[in-house]
């Protein structure tokens, strides 16, 4: 594990010196916060017309995070681009010539991208929460209520994990095209559909985004899952770990 600090520095230079970093992260913040705000405004005006059951299980925190379903796509894009920038250009050969220890290389990428997204994700999460509650007005909650702070912190973790999952997955795929073509429709459509259809719900609730998303809910009844919020996040952590491990094995075994 030689020269970790050097590799970290270099990875940081790589991340900050391309425009895609800025674009994807800004897109993620804007979409998550913006869409969340929009849905909160709508909910606020429609609240009186909702069914009693919906009103009883209404989860103001989870509603504020409604924008995450689209905002996460930008995070996925960021995770894919961090890796595919190496493979797509051939830069990977220069990088691995300079860092023959491939494990170190992957670890440093994970650390740099992970920390950056953790910061951006936390900012997004808190921003979308506070803006959402302000817009919900009387139906909103506050950060001091039980489980709310956990949900907001969980939102930042969720974004980080989904990005790391994509990063690991792209190390397996090695091609930006493949990674995008699989990840985008999967997280945008397929996982959501599988999660809503009753026949597949049993299995779909263990998918990374479906499971991880529970950490952002405060009223457990609104989701009806066999695991708790932290349990859900743990399932997502497991998925991410598997993706990164698979990425590591591929990176280690295959010719660059």
């Amino acid at each position: 594990m030689a020269h970790v600090s050097r590799v970290l520095k270099s990875e940081w230079t790589k991340v900050r010196s391309v425009r895609s970093t800025l674009w994807t992260l800004v897109a993620s913040v804007v979409v998550t916060v913006g869409l969340g705000a929009m849905i909160c405004t709508l909910t606020q005006s429609e609240f009186s017309r909702m069914s009693t059951r919906s009103q009883l299980t209404f989860d103001p925190t989870y509603t504020a995070f409604a924008g995450m379903s689209l905002g996460q796509l930008a995070m996925i894009a960021f995770g894919v681009l961090v890796v595919s920038a190496e493979y797509g250009t051939g830069m990977i050969r220069s990088s691995l010539t300079a860092v023959p220890q491939r494990g170190t290389f992957l670890l440093c990428k994970v650390l740099v991208a992970g920390l950056l997204v953790l910061v951006v994700g936390m900012v997004t999460s808190f921003a979308t929460f506070f803006l959402g509650q302000a817009l919900l007005g009387d139906h909103g909650t506050n950060i001091g209520e039980p489980g709310v702070l956990r949900a907001v912190l969980g939102g930042g973790l969720y974004m980080t994990l989904i990005m790391l999952f994509s990063l690991g997955f792209t190390f397996v795929m090695r091609s930006p095209l493949l990674a995008f073509a699989i990840l985008m429709p999967w997280f945008f459509l397929v996982a959501n559909i599988l999660g809503s259809v009753s026949a597949t719900k049993k299995f779909a609730q263990y998918l990374p985004d479906q499971a991880g998303g529970t950490v952002m809910s405060v009223v457990p009844d609104s989701l009806d899952r066999p695991y708790g919020p932290w349990g859900g996040l743990l399932i997502m952590v497991a998925w991410t770990a598997v993706a990164l491990l698979a990425g590591y094995v591929v990176l280690k075994k295959r010719d660059a």
Partner: protein, 390 residues
């Protein structure tokens, strides 16, 4: 010092590199020569630990690359000039590589200056020309001031000034006692740059020797013999005599004969006895390029076929067909003989494809020194005409 022992790399059923054993010594520019797809880049990637050999091993300074302490300070490589993120500036690209190796930032500006990119260091490399990309790649290789340098096709896309610069750079690096390993598919380039040659074809070692030795061993000497102009019967006579004595006379485009297989004095004697006067009898060496082509002839992966342009050729409007014009078309020049079609072809190449190209002897390959007239132009009429001449 780079040492390879029995290096072999297979991709499925295809063997890219087979049983390569060689050494690249410090203090010299070693050229790594082979046609496209002969395994040069694969070998370089194996040296750098990017590809794992199927069998055999390769070491740099006695260590496998992955085991080298601080590899980037010891080995610098240019593998692919396009291997840069286009959205990143040249300077940031080098900076990220420098930081990887613990090289101070000021070195980045130094190497940018060395390769002449200081003006565009802040520009995104997307807009770089191929030549600028090569310079950026060379800058990356020089970053760590390494003792061992690998360059894969460094002169691709460079202008003449750039080529000269690379050539001098390689020589200078070698003269400083470094190990310089340069791949190329251009023999002429290597002849001017390299001291030592390693030639591979289809992934196998074909030669490992100094450039001079390579020339001596591989180039066949030949004699150029010219008989008086305007007396084709003299040339015919000489050709017959030479063939009888076991030589291989081949007509050259300008009317001279290229004779292999006979020493010069013997040719002179034969001509004398046959009563043929000679205007020229001179010794020649086949060029390095020719030697290289002959060596790798059997191992070229991608060979073009003749473009037949079937049905695409238009007839010249009116007038005799170009091919038919040939025999009488050049008054004052010796006519091709019955079996000696050494017709000189001055002037602009005729679209009909002159006769000599047709008779180009097979063993001469496609590389006879005087740039052959459009010998491959497959004009059906010219072909018919060539048949008549026989």
């Amino acid at each position: 010092m780079i040492e390879a022992y029995g290096l072999t790399k297979r991709y499925g059923a295809k063997t890219a590199v087979y049983n390569l054993t060689f050494q690249v010594r410090p203090g010299a520019v070693t050229g790594f020569l082979g046609p496209n797809g002969s395994g040069k880049s694969t070998t370089m990637r194996m040296i750098l630990g990017l590809d794992t050999p199927t069998s055999g091993q390769v070491t740099v300074g006695g260590h496998a690359f992955k085991g080298l302490p601080n590899a980037p300070r010891q080995v610098g490589a240019l593998l692919d000039a396009k291997a840069v993120h286009g959205g990143r500036s040249a300077r940031n690209h080098l900076l990220s590589l420098a930081q990887l190796s613990g090289i101070p930032t000021r070195r980045v500006d130094e190497v940018l200056g060395v390769v002449g990119l200081q003006e565009v260091g802040k520009k995104r490399s997307k807009g770089f020309s191929l030549g600028m990309g090569q310079r950026l790649g060379i800058a990356a290789a020089l970053l760590g001031d390494p003792q061992v340098l690998l360059f894969d096709e460094p002169v691709n896309g460079l202008d003449p000034e750039g080529i000269l610069w690379v050539r001098n750079l390689m020589k200078r690096l070698a003269s400083e006692g470094r190990t310089v390993f340069v791949s190329s598919h251009l023999m002429s380039e290597m002849a001017q740059t390299a001291d030592h040659l390693i030639v591979i074809g289809r992934g196998q070692l074909m030669a490992d020797m100094s450039v001079n030795e390579f020339i001596t061993r591989n180039s066949v000497g030949f004699a150029r013999v010219r008989t008086p102009e305007g007396e084709p019967e003299q040339q015919e006579k000489l050709t017959a005599v030479l063939q009888e004595a076991g030589g291989q006379p081949q007509p050259e485009g300008d009317g001279a004969l290229r004779v292999t297989g006979l020493p010069l004095p013997h040719i002179s004697d034969l001509a004398h006895h046959a009563g043929v006067r000679l205007w020229e009898l001179s010794p020649h060496q086949a060029s390095l390029e020719e030697a290289y082509m002959r060596m790798t002839q059997g191992s070229v992966d991608y060979r073009s076929t003749v473009d037949e342009r079937a049905g695409l050729q238009q007839q010249m409007p009116g007038g005799p067909l170009p091919g038919q014009q040939m025999p009488g078309g050049l008054p004052g020049t010796p006519m091709p003989g019955q079996h000696m079609p050494g017709a000189p072809v001055p002037g602009p190449p005729m679209p009909g494809g002159p006769v000599p190209g047709q008779q180009m002897p097979a063993q001469q390959g496609g590389w006879a020194p005087p740039p052959p007239p459009p010998q491959d132009a497959p004009n059906p009429y010219a072909r018919a005409e060539g048949g008549d001449a026989r």
